[in-house]
């Protein structure tokens, strides 16, 4: 016993009966509380399995109703179930909302101010603006960009907006939801698609430059295909469905090209490209995202109908890319001309298509196709020739001269080393009695 203990013990012994100091365990208090609770009658809320308190659970279970959810959730349902989220009576939360609301007011006032500036500048004659029409346009564009930015900033701190976006209920016509969606896309899917563009050499092979700004997802028969996956030819027989999410405002017209960039060309001993689908004048906006290829049938849209991608036996995998190209604002392409130009699908060049009609590539996705057991059937059904051909890689011999056998044993095969033959001859797999047999 330490000295302190020794000193304090008689004191403590004396004190204990008088003042009954008890550390943390409040056994008596707890017992007393339990006693009072037993007297308490269950309220209407306690008969509801959604909000029953722990002490009335057993009654409820006896009555045949199981309590729902955790006890914590039930207490929350009792206290705040009837309140909307933004009115929950928590101090820090409400103070925070006040701060955020004040900030939003500021931003809205600033938007008003900028809009007035834009209106003034629009009315102003270009000759009076320093720098002329070009400067006026630049100024207007930068002011509008700033307003868009402010619109995002006004709403970015709203918890309900965040919640709605996470639930997938966001209205993509509003800048804040588009901002959230783009941030989410850029955080993973964009990186994935740029990786595919790089690793499958889409950029030098098909287009000199490709930086997607729209999210294109690929679905075959309700199942999502990750970019670059090898798809069974039976599955890709039917045209896919695209889910296209654009992140900038307003409707626009796009063209869609599905291109197989690995068609073997035997005569030239090379690969060429083949167009599997071509459509133009497809209207897209942030809010309508579904784009089923099978539904594109109109005369002013469909130029080249869907041809299932097939890979002949023995050919390496075919990269089938789906390219979304934005047309110039409010200019329609002449589909009849497209039909005429690209009726023979072979030798389609996306780069020349882009340049000829002044299009901008905005979205990309891809899958691969290889020869499988269904390919022959698919080719027959769609009368694609070449199912009976099998490609074989030509043997490329090494240009290096053959190398003599090397090593300790090989060096000691000759009669000069007769005394070592018991070590160098008749080694299993290497040599026999006549000498070195190992082929390289």
């Amino acid at each position: 016993m330490s000295r302190c203990q020794a000193v304090a013990r008689p004191l403590a012994r004396q004190l204990r009966p008088q003042c009954a100091i008890r550390p943390f365990t409040t056994g008596a208090a707890r017992a007393a509380a339990a006693a009072t609770e037993e007297v308490k009658q269950p309220s209407a809320l306690d008969l509801d399995p959604n909000s029953v308190l722990p002490e009335f659970e057993s009654d409820l279970i006896k009555a045949g109703k199981m309590p729902i959810g955790s006890r914590r959730r039930r207490v929350a349902m009792r206290t705040t179930a009837s309140l909307p989220f933004e009115q929950l009576p928590y101090q820090a939360f409400q103070e925070a909302r006040a701060i955020l609301a004040a900030d939003r007011q500021e931003k809205v006032a600033k938007i008003q101010e900028e809009l007035e500036k834009i209106a003034l500048l629009e009315k102003k004659d270009a000759a009076l603006v320093k720098g002329g029409q070009a400067m006026k346009d630049t100024k207007l564009a930068s002011l509008r960009r700033y307003v868009e930015q402010l619109k995002i900033q006004a709403d970015i701190n709203d918890p309900l907006v965040k919640k709605r976006f996470e639930d997938g209920l966001g209205d993509m016509d509003k800048p804040i939801y588009r901002h959230y969606a783009e941030r989410k896309w850029r955080s993973y899917d964009y990186r994935l698609i740029t990786q595919r563009i790089k690793q499958f050499n889409i950029v030098p092979d098909v287009l000199p430059k490709l930086d997607p700004v729209a999210d294109v997802q690929l679905y075959f028969r309700q199942s999502k295909i990750p970019p670059g996956e090898i798809v069974d030819s039976l599955i890709s027989e039917n045209p896919p469905r695209l889910r296209v999410q654009v992140f900038n405002k307003g409707p626009r017209l796009v063209s869609l090209v599905v291109l197989d960039s690995d068609v073997p060309d035997v005569e030239k001993d090379a690969f060429s490209k083949r167009c599997h689908f071509l459509a133009a004048n497809i209207s897209l906006s942030p809010n309508d995202t579904s784009l089923p290829l099978s539904k594109i049938r109109a005369d002013d849209q469909l130029a080249v109908p869907w041809l299932p991608p097939t890979a002949q036996k023995g050919s390496p995998y075919h990269r089938v890319g789906i390219y979304l190209l934005e047309q110039k604002p409010e200019t329609k392409l002449d589909v009849a001309k497209l039909k005429e130009l690209y009726a023979s699908r072979d030798g389609f060049s996306l780069k020349s298509f882009r340049d000829k009609f002044s299009l901008t590539p905005v979205g990309f996705n891809m899958f691969r196709s290889v020869w499988d057991e269904n390919t022959a059937g698919v080719m027959e059904r769609h009368s694609v020739a070449g199912a009976d051909v099998e490609f074989r890689p030509t043997r490329v011999h090494s240009l290096k001269p053959p190398v003599k056998p090397r090593g300790w044993e090989a060096k000691r095969q000759g009669p000069a080393y007769r005394h070592l033959w018991k070590y160098t001859k008749r080694i299993k797999g290497l040599s026999n009695a006549r000498g070195w047999t190992k082929r390289r």
């Binding site: 925070a96 909302r97 701060i99 955020l100 701190n157 918890p159």
Partner: protein, 192 residues
């Protein structure tokens, strides 16, 4: 010796010693006490645990009933630490969806609040600096006083000699701001 099998090596050696010696029991006791105090603890000898003196001069019994290792003076402290120091850390916070949304709201508001504070401070500082800059610029263009030339006052004002010395700032100026004032908040009666 029947009992020598049950006692520790130390004591068996001691007992051998005492059996061989023909000295008195007091000498043996003194020896025992010195050896224990050196071995077992560094406390003052009054508090240190003492081995009981051997009963007989030539035949010491198994002197220690309590055979566990001797307790150091820090025994209780160490026991407390050993029991409690390695308690597992509490689990990370887990929040339900709406609770997390509230937390996010509070966090965003706090960041906004801090940013506004910082911006206000920045603005204040640049405003004060601009005021000083303008005043100095005016001073630079000033002629005088008396027969002095243009910019004389400015050159003197820019002189940094002695600014950074030990007497640069008086010690009273290092008073911190506090949450509540002193009993006499301001000394109005200060006399030189």
């Amino acid at each position: 010796m029947a009992s020598s099998t049950s006692i520790t090596g130390l004591f068996s050696r001691l007992s051998l010693l005492s059996r061989n010696t023909t000295s008195t029991a007091t000498a043996t006791a003194a020896m025992t006490s010195t050896s224990t105090s050196r071995l077992f603890s560094t406390t003052s000898s009054s508090l240190a645990r003492k081995a009981p003196p051997p009963a007989g001069g030539s035949a010491p019994k198994a002197v220690r009933r309590n055979r566990q290792a001797p307790k150091s003076e820090n025994f209780f402290r160490i026991r407390t630490l050993r029991r409690n120091m390695f308690s597992p850390a509490p689990p990370p916070l887990r929040m339900a969806r709406l609770r997390y949304l509230r937390h996010w709201t509070i966090h965003r508001a706090w960041q906004l609040f801090r940013r506004k504070q910082h911006e206000a401070i920045d603005k204040e500082r640049s405003r004060m600096h601009a005021g000083m800059y303008n005043a100095c610029e005016e001073l630079r263009k000033t002629v005088g006083p008396g027969s002095r030339g243009e910019g004389y006052l400015y050159r003197v004002a820019m002189e940094k000699k002695g600014v950074y010395g030990l007497d640069g700032v008086p010690i009273e100026y290092a008073r911190f701001q506090t949450d509540s004032p002193a009993k006499e908040a301001w000394n109005h009666e200060w006399k030189r």
